[in-house]
């Protein structure tokens, strides 16, 4: 009984994505199976809007990931040395703050700052926003790793004459490398996926891939969206599996 019920729950979780991926290979335009074809993938590749969105998303995700991984790793290490309740409370709060609130509040900040700096919305505002919500994910992954990390290794290094910085750089950082990789992949995925916050703080020249997909999905039926979605599901799945493996190491 329990097994059957659980199987149904797991099917509920997976069926929609599997069906979506299956129909992305459908040669017909409608939801009737007409045969296997890569037609919609070719159409997606030929779409200039999608291409531009993809490039923007990749640029933004690259910058956001690099920044949030460095900032988050340093913060996790700092909090591991000694608790920083205000910062860690703020990070948890940033995780549960509804995206729409984060989005409009950043929009309000950027509009307010615009009056003094004359800096319009664009890629940079999206990167700033993405870093702000990714730091929490990075610190959680790194902190989890540090919890099982032996403090005495650093102490030994310092007893042998290493400075605080050298002990971190040569002893702790290499031990954290897999976790840092895992955190970076996670941060890449959350940045690449975000729609709500991005759509509020993006400028006219910085439409990301999720924004293009969203507009297409709202407009109605286009199997091109299925193809792009299937592609994203598979890529994200691979990245998350790698991230997970790295966290186990």
């Amino acid at each position: 009984m329990l097994g059957l019920y659980s199987a149904c729950a797991l099917i509920f979780l997976h069926a929609p994505l599997i069906v979506l991926i299956a129909f992305s290979f459908n040669s017909g335009r409608f939801t009737i199976w007409e045969g296997v074809s890569l037609r919609w993938y070719r159409a997606a590749l030929a779409d200039s809007q999608l291409a531009e969105g993809l490039i923007n998303s990749l640029i933004i995700a690259a910058f956001a990931t690099a920044l949030s991984t460095v900032i988050g790793t340093l913060a996790a290490y700092g909090m591991w040395r000694k608790a920083a309740p205000v910062l860690s409370g703020g990070l948890y709060l940033s995780l549960v703050t509804p995206e729409i609130v984060t989005g409009v509040s950043l929009l309000a900040l950027f509009q307010w700052a615009f009056r003094f700096l004359r800096l319009p919305l664009g890629m940079h505002t999206v990167v700033i926003a993405h870093v702000a919500f990714s730091i929490a994910y990075v610190t959680i992954v790194i902190s989890a790793r540090l919890r099982n990390y032996d403090r005495t290794l650093e102490e030994a290094a310092m007893d042998l004459g290493a400075t605080e910085w050298r002990a971190f750089w040569r002893v702790t950082l290499p031990a954290l490398a897999p976790a840092i990789g895992a955190a970076a992949l996670l941060s890449l995925v959350v940045s690449f996926d975000d729609y709500v916050i991005t759509s509020l703080v993006a400028g006219v020249d910085s439409e990301t891939l999720p924004m293009v997909i969203y507009a297409m999905a709202r407009r109605g039926v286009s199997p091109v969206v299925n193809a792009v979605s299937a592609f994203i599901v598979v890529i994200f799945g691979i990245l998350i599996l790698i991230s997970d493996r790295l966290q186990q190491r």
């Binding site: 019920y5 659980s6 729950a9 509920f12 979780l13 929609p16 994505l17 069906v19 979506l20 939801t31 009737i32 460095v70 900032i71 340093l74 913060a75 290490y77 700092g78 909090m79 040395r81 000694k82 910062l87 703020g90 990070l91 948890y92 709060l93 549960v96 703050t97 509804p98 995206e99 729409i100 609130v101 409009v104 509040s105 929009l107 309000a108 900040l109 700033i128 926003a129 870093v131 702000a132 730091i135 610190t139 605080e164 910085w165 971190f168 996926d193 709500v196 509020l200 999720p210 969203y214 999905a217 709202r218 039926v221 969206v225 979605s229 994203i232 599901v233 994200f236 998350i240 599996l241």
Partner: protein, 276 residues
């Protein structure tokens, strides 16, 4: 100790400038008057908060709470047996956990779109039912509260399963044996032994589902199609189309406060400390 402060500095600066400061601005805006061209002006007023008590907006608030309660209840119903099953799956535990988490990490937008693909008039369900001759014309499955509910449950189910599993996993199997030895049927064992012990995990999971449901924007927008307006959609509308920033800010503050209070309640529980 100097190294530690230097390491914490970038995160502190970034979170202060781009998380705390924006929230402070919105908080300030919520007490100001709407400007003639969409901005904000003095004098300070409580009018925006008072407007939230207007029947129209009270209705939206109420609907958000109600849909969130229903989604949470459905997640508990669907997720608790699943968590129990995984906790008792022995060596396959990790495999099943991965199966729960994997769809969760594949794009939130795509997961919501998948339901659009399934539920719309020319979608999978209607096409299949029509070709089987069960229905003549498409059922209106999309753009209503039910579609939003399905989308929310689908998106946030793992938030419940994880903490529920964490408490169930530590359940001492000998307790179940004792209950069985004393003549309890499986259902009675679950109801009178397992659920009371797992209650903290169930509560934590329920809160973790309720918070994002309450602040949902994307799911009601895509699957509710503007007909099923929740608090998140109201806020977005006030900041974009309606350009009433003080009112949008007041609604944001209410949502933020509710989320923060729920988080505080969660952090005080033992389960949360063990999970984090």
């Amino acid at each position: 100790m100097k190294l530690r402060s230097a390491f914490l500095l970038p995160a502190r600066v970034w979170m202060a400038l781009f998380f705390a400061a924006p929230l402070a601005i919105v908080c300030a805006y919520s007490f100001l008057t709407r400007g003639d061209y969409g901005g904000v002006e003095r004098p300070g007023t409580l009018e925006s908060f008072a407007r939230l008590a207007d029947p129209l907006y009270l209705g939206i608030l109420w609907r958000s709470v109600w849909i969130s309660i229903l989604s949470t209840a459905l997640c508990v119903t669907l997720g608790f047996p699943l968590a129990l099953f995984i906790a008792r799956a022995g060596r396959r535990k990790n495999l099943y956990l991965q199966l729960v988490l994997l769809p969760f990490w594949t794009s939130f937008l795509v997961r919501t779109y998948a339901w659009l693909f399934i539920l719309r008039d020319t979608g999978l369900v209607n096409t299949v039912l029509q070709s089987l001759g069960v229905i003549g014309k498409p059922l209106p499955l999309l753009y209503n509260d039910w579609a939003v509910l399905i989308g929310l449950v689908y998106n946030f189910l793992p938030f419940f399963v994880l903490p529920a599993y964490a408490t169930l996993e530590r359940l001492d199997p000998s307790l179940l044996e004792a209950a069985a030895d004393l003549g309890a049927r499986p259902f009675a064992t679950v109801w009178r032994v397992v659920i009371p012990i797992a209650a903290p995990g169930i509560a934590a999971g329920a809160v973790l589902v309720f918070i994002p449901c309450l602040g949902a924007y994307l799911t009601p927008d895509l699957l509710g199609g503007g007909k099923s307006v929740m608090l998140g959609n109201l806020i977005q509308n006030q900041f974009t189309t309606a350009r009433d920033w003080p009112f949008g800010s007041a609604a944001s503050m209410v949502l933020m406060l509710a989320s923060a209070l729920l988080l505080a309640a969660l952090m005080r529980s033992r389960v949360a400390r063990e999970l984090m």
